[in-house]
């Protein structure tokens, strides 16, 4: 990789928080969709079937986004041949650190998204 790819302007804290942001969007979409469906479209004992499918779709989209962000982080973490703890005062180690932290956050966000998706497996009605 070239020196240019290490320039500060190529890094962003937004990439670091992309996966948690996807988790938040997934969470809100699932919650709002289920809440509106249960409050306005079916009775208390009504079926949750369309919502379960909707949550499945939201989950698939979220996991793709998180996996992409996590992979991007992994590649940056593996930049060059250095090892943890990425604490050298160099652009390369800064890049590795941001990559590693991005990857870790993607992992946590993925787990949290899957936890939320389990709800759709467990609940079949609005009760």
């Amino acid at each position: 990789m070239t020196q240019q790819s290490l320039a500060e302007r190529k890094e962003s804290l937004w990439r670091l928080i992309a996966s948690p942001t996807i988790w938040a969007a997934h969470f809100m979409l699932c919650y709002v969709t289920a809440a509106i469906w249960c409050a306005k479209y079916v009775a208390r004992t009504g079926t949750l079937e369309p919502i379960r499918w909707a949550i499945l779709v939201f989950t698939a989209v979220a996991l793709v986004g998180i996996a992409w962000n996590g992979w991007d982080g992994y590649r940056r973490h593996r930049f060059g041949d250095a090892h943890l703890p990425h604490d050298d005062d160099t652009p390369a180690d800064r890049r590795r650190f941001l990559g590693f932290a991005t990857m870790l956050l993607a992992g946590l966000s993925g787990v949290a998204v899957i936890y939320a998706a389990f709800v759709a497996i467990v609940f079949r009605s609005c009760r």
Binding site: L16, T21, K40, P91, V119, F123, R127
Partner: protein, 848 residues
């Protein structure tokens, strides 16, 4: 390590500057940074003074809340007690909870950060010293107002959650108003401090302190401050709704008018559960600084701790309904919040394991701070485990509103916040006045606290499981609660003795105590650079950083700092200055001049506070006059204290580096402060929009079939006018940049005219279509959105008038144009607000 090129990574001066130059530099720095003496001392804005005031005030409120707790425990010591009446007890537990959560736990994190973060970041101060002072005075005024209510039998009585209808229909007295308005004012202070800490962390680091080298404390504070921006506005929005209901009978939470008290719970807990983490994260951050020092080695798992801080910061926003499991929401909704509640245990556990690993990998030196660290880990983990229990909806159905929850909450907050804060107190105290606290007293206090705490709060888990509800002022005998309650009371007093010992240690005369040696704990981080006693200048010279632990790793580091071999070793122009750097690599970008002492922040806090306090007593005209006075004071503050045109373009800050003294637009710290503030305000607006759609969700018929307004015409006119005003504002900025005075003045006047017309049109919609906000929640919500939008347009007009006056006075020019950039940024948000409001109130009914 790769070899570094000198240009990219400067070294300190290779020679010692002459002695007389060093002495002259120190004299100038000492003079320029000195806090005023005598009564003018209270005009100080140094972080080292304001932060100490803030911390001291927060601790005083903590002691007050603690006394209230002891009264509660005495009342509950035995069944059928009558030490205090039910009515008094209700006030006491409400004020206890409110004081501890709002006047101690949040302010103390911000105040500790205000004191020590500049020290950790090698900055002379944070970027907005007067804003910190303003935040402190707002906090003090609001806090005294709230705390004093109990002395006049006028405190709120519904618990610190303030649930309606308990706080609306059933509590007509002034207490609830004091809470709603008082804490809204205090939250202004908290948001002001959050803005300061975010900009400080990202933009005021020493050159070379890249994002991978930031002290972990600063990562945690950055996350917690960002959380404040998104968590506090929901409570401000909710408080606004509840206060308007109480004062004007708009039925936001009243079912008779279509309102719903559950909306308050959503807004309150959207604030309240992140708040618990806003308290926990900066407190546990203290451990991230103390543990490496006493383990004598770098933290293990730095990146994992960043994961833990950022991950917790996000997921904690997905927890709010776990305080509402018993409200009757659908199972799928409860399940989502239960899932997030379990997920947050992962990052919480990660940081605990990193701390344990660091201690295991090092050789831990005994000390009072590390004793409190062990106390923290033991107590907080127990609180976390009971937290996992309560996160399960099915268990919570049994434990909700029992003493089990009281026990859990206190394990989490006292273990996760009070113990770390006391660790930090003993650790950092020498940096305040140069002397250590007593090792002996610290150890004695620890054991009283640790033992007393567990004796007080462990039994509550059992009284709770046996069915004892919280917030009862007494209970019948022979339910199996008697002995457990007595034991809790004894434990509370033992805990209180421990706290009293610490208070004595802090306040006892220390004249005969020896001055602490420099860096007494042999720490590696920058806050330990100062000689003892510390100077007011923050740091002798702003260093170039190569390591997470510069004192340990950079050769001759302390010598180089002492001799002024890095940046800004002097104050040649007798100005307070620090360096602004970039967020990722901490590349130097600006030499920022900071304002000095001033009473203006205090005056601003008094006048703005007057609006809230007078409003509590429904003294509307004096309240409005106070708000107008506050606006004028703020304009004066800005006029004399900000965006000053420097006498030269650049300054040589040392090591061959020249930096600009003035930046505008995204390069300026002020622009970032406006952006961050607008994110907070936009969050409050989003809550109002959420309220509209919440009512739509719960009502089969919303807007009601018989609703007559606001129609489409006036909202559309308002939107067109406001967007036109925004466009003219952009044009004004362009004309100003081009030096075209006529174009600038014309565009600005046009923008002002359209904004006022737009605001009036926004109000014309509900007005002319006859919407009465008292009759139903639909007209109330529409009116509220219209008033909010029109109000922001008015604020935007005031901003344009200010810029107009600045340009007339020659203080804003084509080149020196911070003001117009910041105002245009504000107007971007006004335009978005107007668009969303009109789409909601005029567009949505067309498609529902």
């Amino acid at each position: 390590m790769k070899p570094k090129t000198p240009a990219a990574d400067p070294e300190p001066l290779p020679y010692e500057p002459p002695q007389e130059l060093q002495r002259a530099q120190e004299e100038r720095l000492r003079e320029v940074w000195a806090a005023p003496k005598g009564w003018k001392y209270w005009s100080a804005v140094n972080n080292t003074e304001v932060g100490v005031w803030y911390t001291g005030a927060a601790f005083l409120f903590f002691l007050y809340g603690g006394l209230l707790a002891l009264i509660m425990r005495l009342q509950l010591a035995r069944p059928g007690n009558d030490l205090v009446s039910a009515e008094t007890y209700n006030q006491i537990f409400t004020v206890h909870g409110s004081v501890m959560m709002f006047l101690f736990a949040i302010p103390v994190f911000e105040s500790i950060a205000v004191i020590f973060m500049p020290q950790m970041l090698g900055a002379r101060d944070l970027p907005f010293p007067r804003l910190s002072a303003f935040g402190f005075w707002c906090f003090l005024i609001g806090g005294v107002f709230l705390s004093g209510s109990l002395l006049f039998d006028a405190a709120p009585r519904g618990g610190w959650f303030m649930y309606p209808p308990l706080t609306s229909k059933y509590q007509p007295g002034v207490g609830a108003d004091m809470w709603l308005l008082g804490f809204s004012f205090i939250e202004i202070a908290a948001i002001a401090a959050a803005v300061e800490l975010i900009v400080g962390t990202l933009k005021c680091r020493p050159p070379g302190m890249r994002i991978n080298l930031i002290p972990l404390y600063c990562w945690y504070v950055l996350v917690a401050a960002a959380m404040v921006l998104f968590a506090f506005p929901p409570l401000i929005a909710g408080s606004m709704l509840l206060e308007v209901e109480r004062a004007f009978k708009w039925p936001f939470f009243d079912p008779a008018g279509g309102g719903d008290p559950v909306l308050w719970q959503h807004l309150f807990w959207l604030f309240g559960h992140p708040e618990v983490y806003i308290i926990f994260l900066p407190s546990i951050a203290i451990l991230a600084m103390v543990i490496p020092t006493f383990a004598r080695r770098p933290i293990v798992g730095y990146s994992w701790i960043v994961l833990a801080a950022v991950g917790t910061g996000f997921i904690s926003f997905g927890l709010w309904v776990h305080h509402m499991y018993t409200t009757g929401l659908p199972g799928v909704s409860l399940g989502l919040f239960s899932a997030a509640s379990e997920a947050v245990a992962i990052p919480t556990g990660v940081q605990i394991f990193c701390f344990i690993a660091t201690m295991a990998a090092g050789r831990v030196a005994r000390s009072v701070p590390i004793l409190y660290v062990f106390g923290t880990l033991a107590i907080f983990v127990l609180g976390g485990l009971t937290g996992v229990m309560i996160a399960l909806a099915s268990f919570d159905f049994q434990a909700h509103d029992t003493f089990f929850v009281v026990g859990h909450l206190h394990y989490v907050l006292i273990g996760g916040a009070v113990f770390p804060i006391i660790a930090g107190l003993y650790y950092w105290f020498p940096l305040l006045k140069g002397k250590k606290l007593s090792d002996k007293l610290g150890k004695i206090a620890f054991w009283f606290m640790f033992i007393g705490f567990n004796i007080a709060f462990l039994p509550m888990h059992f009284t709770g499981l046996r069915g004892m509800p919280r917030r009862v002022f007494t209970y019948p005998s022979n339910l199996g609660w008697d002995t457990l309650n007595l034991v809790s009371t004894i434990g509370a007093f033992i805990l209180g003795i421990g706290i009293a010992i610490i208070v004595w240690d802090v306040v006892r005369p220390k004249k005969n105590d020896p001055m602490s040696e420099r860096n007494p704990w042999n720490a590696g981080t920058l806050e330990w650079v100062p000689k003892m006693p510390p100077e007011a200048w923050g740091i002798r010279t702003i260093p170039e950083i190569d390591s997470r632990y510069p004192i340990w790793d950079q050769p001759n580091f302390l010598r180089d700092v002492d001799q002024g071999r890095f940046y800004l070793p002097d104050a040649e122009e007798m100005e307070r200055e620090t360096i602004v750097t970039s967020p990722i690599d901490a590349t130097p970008q600006q030499c920022l001049r900071l304002p000095g002492p001033s009473f203006i922040p205090l005056l601003a806090a008094v006048t703005i506070g007057g609006f809230f306090i007078l409003g509590t007593f429904y003294l509307w005209m004096p309240a409005i006059m106070s708000l107008v006075a506050g606006t004028l004071v703020i304009c004066y503050w800005l006029w004399i204290g900000t965006a000053k045109i420097p006498e030269k373009e650049e300054k040589d800050v040392g090591l061959g580096l020249k930096l600009p003294l003035y930046e505008s637009g995204p390069s300026s710290v002020g622009w970032w402060a406006v952006l961050i503030t607008m994110l907070a305000i936009s969050t409050a607006f989003a809550c109002l929009i959420f309220a509209y759609f919440f009512y739509w969700t719960i009502h089969p018929d919303f807007p009601p079939e018989n609703a007559t307004g606001p129609g489409v015409l006036w909202p559309s006119i308002a939107l067109a006018l406001i967007l036109g005003s925004w466009g003219l504002g952009l044009l004004a900025r362009r004309f100003n940049s081009a030096g075209k005075a006529g174009g600038y003045y014309g565009s600005t006047l046009g923008a002002i005219t359209l904004a006022l017309a737009g605001g009036a049109s926004m109000l014309a919609g509900p007005w002319l279509t006859g919407l009465d906000p008292k009759t139903h929640v639909y007209p109330a919500t529409v009116w509220l959105l219209c008033i909010w939008t029109a109000g922001h347009a008015v604020v935007g007009v005031i901003m344009h008038l200010y810029c107009f006056a600045r340009r007339l006075a020659g203080k804003m020019t084509a080149h020196y144009d911070i003001e117009i950039h910041n105002v245009v940024l504000f107007w971007h948000f006004v335009a978005i607000t107007a668009l969303v409001t009109v789409l909601t109130i005029a567009g949505f009914p067309l498609v529902k």
